[in-house]
């Protein structure tokens, strides 16, 4: 298993798409966070009623899409090139292959996602500090929300990996993961009434993003993350079953 993980790490670090998507995730988190913070400060000054943590993490939806894209291509790329046959000839135990790829991807996404989340938070707070209104990691729930940013990005990446493994076709998998993360919550918003509102809380990113909020707006933070991971688990399990059955 360790051997296969080392192999997957070599594959992941040796292509440009990894650098590009991770760079895009970090860059978008930072730029959107800083611009958002500057905009809020210029409009409301240091005394408005805003959530400094949320504003500094405003890049999360973009970062999530970048991570999800990387999740898709780390596996669909092997099908696109046909390299999957080289991989599976080397590692005939297909579940071991999928597990190794998932572990390596998770570690990379977690490290980069958490770093990006902290960088965006700190940069945003540096803007607010000019007005004497910066939030601190020592404030209640802030540390959990900033760490939560990294968790949310990682879970989004895993949703991409699951869709990539299931669909095996890059454009199809990317469209699917965007639909799940961005379109489904919009569609769910048309649901009205108490039941409609409850359903909305359980939809993909509506649930998953609660972990990134100091003041959750739906499910409790960890419950929301667990629900999001369930959205990941379903395509992942189907993909694993099909991976064992299908011809490579």
């Amino acid at each position: 298993m360790i051997d296969v993980m080392r192999s997957e790490w070599t594959k992941m670090r040796s292509v440009r798409s990894t650098v590009w998507t991770l760079g895009a995730a970090g860059g978008l988190m930072l730029v959107v966070g800083v611009l958002g913070s500057l905009a809020v400060v210029s409009m409301q000054g240091g005394s408005g009623s805003y959530d400094q943590v949320s504003v500094s993490l405003a890049g999360l939806p973009f970062g999530a899409l970048a991570l999800a894209t990387l999740g898709v291509i780390v596996i669909s790329g092997e099908y696109r090139t046909g390299a999957i046959r080289v991989t599976l000839a080397a590692v005939p135990d297909r579940l071991r292959f999928l597990a190794a790829k998932t572990v390596v991807f998770t570690v990379v996404a977690l490290v980069v996602g958490t770093a990006a989340s902290f960088a965006a938070f700190l940069a945003g707070q540096a803007v607010f500090a000019g007005e004497g209104a910066a939030a601190s990691l020592a404030d209640p729930e802030v540390l959990r929300a900033v760490f939560g940013g990294g968790l949310y990005l990682t879970a989004s990446g895993l949703l991409g990996l699951a869709c990539g493994a299931l669909i095996r076709h890059t454009p199809g998998a990317i469209v699917t993961v965007i639909a799940l993360i961005m379109v489904l919550p919009v569609l769910a918003a048309v649901l009205t009434g108490e039941t409609g509102r409850r359903i909305q809380e359980y939809v993909t990113s509506n649930a998953g993003s609660q972990i990134t909020k100091v003041h959750p707006t739906g499910l409790a933070p960890w419950t929301g993350l667990a629900v999001y991971l369930l959205w990941v688990a379903v395509p992942f399990v189907v993909a694993a079953v099909l991976l064992r059955r299908r011809d490579a």
Partner: protein, 296 residues
Amino acid sequence: MTAIRATNLTKRYGRTTAVAGLSFDVKAGQVTGFLGPNGAGKSTSMRMILGLDRPTSGTVTVDGRPYSKLEHPLRKIGALLDARAVHGGRSARNHLLAIAQSNAIPSSRVKEVLEMVGLGEVAGRRIGGFSLGMSQRLGIAAALLGDPEILLFDEPVNGLDPDGILWIRTLMRGLAAEGRTVFVSSHLMSEMAQTADHLIVIGRGALIADTSVAEFIGRSSQGYVRVRSPHLTEVASLLPDAELHHDHLRVTSRSPLEIGVLTAERGLALEELTFVQPTLEAAYMELTKDSLEYSS
């Protein structure tokens, strides 16, 4: 010693049968050619050997075990299926390193095989910029990584220039001389005549012949004696089975000596009396003419 054994191997895709009840043994320590027209089921069979495609029925084993039960398969069997099926953005070195790591092969081996196939100079270059010949060499380097006793090549000379073809031929003979088993597919009989000791010929997914190269020629296509003479009609009347071809006769039932004696007794002068060896190509065409998927 059997390196690869297929037993009643069958693969259907929907209503199309790619491989139909194929059984054969690949013996260890020699070059076995896997021959058949395009679409005969060679690649599908090879993918099943490597556990990539699941047989509809039947089994195939490598060194007595199903491929999926091999712990570090690349140390037992190395394969080149499609040289272009690689991520073009990776360097040759990283491509091989990832494969080596997956089978716990020391990373020093990467440099060794790159030197072996003549790609040492371009180890750090992106594979995407490689020519077909270089890609083919890289694929062979990957197959050799685990120093395996069995090698499997699918159409390795396709699209190569004469230098490349010669290189692959020499390599395959060299590998067999080291005692390794080489199983190589081709749709070109002439190619196999140069390299193989043994032939497994298939057509439309079924076995046509499983024989040594020498036997294959002898069994499937007879030689004939070519006779030219100013007195062609008289000569023909002495040889009941002679066939007239343009300006000469083809005789299959008698040796040149018998024909010479016969015509000498009648005082008939001969212009030519030649025994024509059958070629592998002719034998192959003869055998597979019924099993071409698309006949021209």
